[in-house]
């Protein structure tokens, strides 16, 4: 548990909390990018360089931008009159708390069995590439198809209907 770990934790959790609590939707989006960045730092801290950079590229470079675009397109940036939280926010919070309690309990209960510090694994990008087209070629293909389908689907869903196609 190094100092770095605590710093990143603070950053990430703060980002996450802010993104869920702030009133202004755009602020939330920006805050969540902080959380994403924090997670990327976590990955780097875990010697998963590739995953970390991929995280930044995908989430900050793409998802965050998508989100802010969506916010602006749906006029979501101005805060609604009747509060930002749904009417039944209390039960939701309770359930989330319950989930956290459950998870935390499980982790702490089994913490003693978890492995301690292990030697740093050396993973080159080359190895990852080999794995991607070797052992994991099938998942790779499937993900490729999925992405294509998702892209087309998103376009079709968000596209303006022409007259008469309704």
């Amino acid at each position: 548990m190094s100092l770095v770990f605590y710093l990143i934790t603070a950053l990430t959790v703060a980002g996450g909390l802010a993104s869920m609590l702030l009133k202004n939707t755009v602020h939330c989006a920006l805050a969540v990018t902080v959380a994403f960045a924090g997670l990327a730092f976590f990955f780097l801290n875990l010697d998963a360089q590739f995953a970390g950079f991929a995280q930044i590229l995908v989430y900050i470079g793409a998802v965050a931008i998508l989100v802010v675009f969506a916010i602006l397109l749906t006029k979501g940036s101005e805060t609604p009159k009747d509060g930002v939280f749904s009417r039944t926010w209390l039960s939701g919070l309770a359930i989330a708390a319950a989930v956290f309690a459950m998870l935390g309990w499980a982790i702490l209960h089994t913490a003693s069995m978890l492995p301690g510090a292990t030697p740093v694994p050396t993973v080159t990008v080359r190895q990852i590439g080999q794995a991607l087209i070797g052992r994991y070629v099938l998942p790779l293909e499937i993900v490729a198809v999925l992405l294509t389908v998702a892209l087309i689907g998103a376009v079709i869903v968000a596209m303006h209907e022409k007259e008469g196609t309704k």
């Binding site: 939701g92 359930i95 989330a96 319950a98 989930v99 499980a106 070797g134 070629v137 099938l138």
Partner: protein, 690 residues
Amino acid sequence: MQEAISFTPQLTASPIAEILWMIPAVPIVAAGLSALLKQSRRKASATLAIASLSFSLLLSLYAFAHVVRAWAIYGAAREVVNLTWFQTGAVNVDLGWVLDPLSAVMLVMVSFVGLLIFIYSTGYMEHDENYTRFFCFMSLFAGAMLGVVISNSLLLLFICWELVGLTSYLLIGFWYQKPSAAAAAKKAFLTTRIGDVFFLLGMVWLFSQSGTLLFYNHGAGSLEPSALAGLLATPAALGLTAAGAIGLLIFAGAAGKSGQFPLHVWLPDAMEGPTPVSALIHAATMVAAGVYLIARVYPLMHAGALAGGTTTALTVVTWVGAFTAVFAALIAVAQNDIKRVLAYSTVSQLGYMMAGLGMGGVAVGMFHLITHGFFKALLFMGAGSVIHGCHEEQDIRKMGGLKSDMPLTFLTYAIGMLALCGFPLLFSGFWSKDGILEAAQHWSVAKAPLYMLVFGALLTAFYMTRQVAYVFFGYWRGGKPALESPAVMTVPLAILALFAMALGLIGTPAWPWFRAFLDGHAAAFAWSGFLEPGLLTLMGASTFVVFLGIGLAWHFYSDRSPSPQEPDELERVIPIAWGWLRDKLYVDEFYGVTVIAFYEGWARVSDWLDRRVWGGVVTGVAWTFGLWAQLNRFLDNNIVNGTFDKGCDELGVGGGLLSRVQTGRVQTYLRLLALGVVLLAAILIWSSRA
């Protein structure tokens, strides 16, 4: 990438085995090319198809010769080339092809008959505007079929198998403007699909058990002793071993393709397609693919049989085959469509093959398959020639006396008919059927199949003679007079006729070359082959039966009056039974009734569920309904839909009552979800501690 797909064969096989893949590949490529051709490039497409298939034929002949040589030298000859398609996780997915007597024989048969039919169809399809499409599909089919033949991995076989099914669908529905054709195509596709589901199950099971789908892989294949032992060790349900159960599942797939009894309904309707298609796909090759598949996995079916004994799987195969043989023959007696008669006869002959496989082993069944492939193709092409000559008339009651108008067709057709009847000594059908009967005679389990098959032989002789009498003898009952077909159609007929006679000689008891070849031991010529106990009596019996059938039919049908409306002679004798037979023993109707009964039961059950269980089930049941409707649409449209709508309305009502729970708010659902997770986890933890 090299790691992922390494196309290096795992051992060095002979050059011909190395390039065996070209046999199916070339026609498929040809199909791809002719798919790009313009509709007007008729000659080009035909040339492409014929050239590619002739290439395949040459290769096949070479491969055949190679195998024969190897067999002469080493006895058994089997070469496999396997390669890894891709690997995911620890699992290798392998493909491969095998060159052994079985595949070699089949290769030659398929490519030879196929080539003849291609040439024939250049004449037959002359006036069709979708000529190019036709040849594209045909060569695609040929390629896929050859792929089925050579494949050494159940996966590859399944892929080609599905391709074959697809092309069959496309070709039955070739004249999709005719609603009947479209319906027939759908029916064929879906019916075979039922079988294929079981096939798939069997395949997956086999994979999970033996870890490979390769048939032969130098001791590591799934059909080789080590794997078979493992399969025998693992018990399945109903006292079957895993081997038996998998075998039966695969047999279900085979039954679907080659129209065995429960799933035979599609084959007669498939005659909606062009006649060359019926000849190639639904007589000679594709329907035989099922039989070939069983022959291929015979070790699996036969595994665990004691000396001279049999296994459950094989017994099932036998009974299904024998029953189909008689059943279809009965129906064939009362058909008036020239092609339908042949279709039912095909079904019954396939039954013979299955029975032969079940009782006598690979050689017996395969021999009948090969001979049947030739003479049934001959018959279909003859029928096509007749139809062509009679200006697309298919009803035999409106024909007659053609023996003078179309002498060549008549001659060849007569030869084919005699071969199919099993006319003694001169015709191949006699020897191959005799082999099956002999096997039935020595079968240890029961004698009933023997009698069924003999009866079947009688019927076969009867209905074939009836047909010939109708078509070629008596007076011309049609409209404008018939014309002989062009040489491009009759020459292939002649060639096939030659084979329909000569081919029998490689399988006589005196010189069982074919059996020896397939079983991998030397063949010797000895007249003493005839002197085995009971053999001569059996031959005498079958000969007598054949003559009896021909004689009866001749007695009934030799002198028909010129009026096409006049009822069938047999109908006068046994009107009720006749009606039954004419209506194909009401199988389709029977399916309709049973399924509908099942339907209403299901409707009531689900209705009851709805009144009590909440919305999730509602959609579930509705979905199942949808599935059933999909699956049964081709059976009996109007009634099914009636029940279906009724059921859905009631579901709607029930759903309306019960879907009050759903507030339509996403977050509510998410909340319930999370809550459920927590509760489950809590239960889990609590139970694990207590």
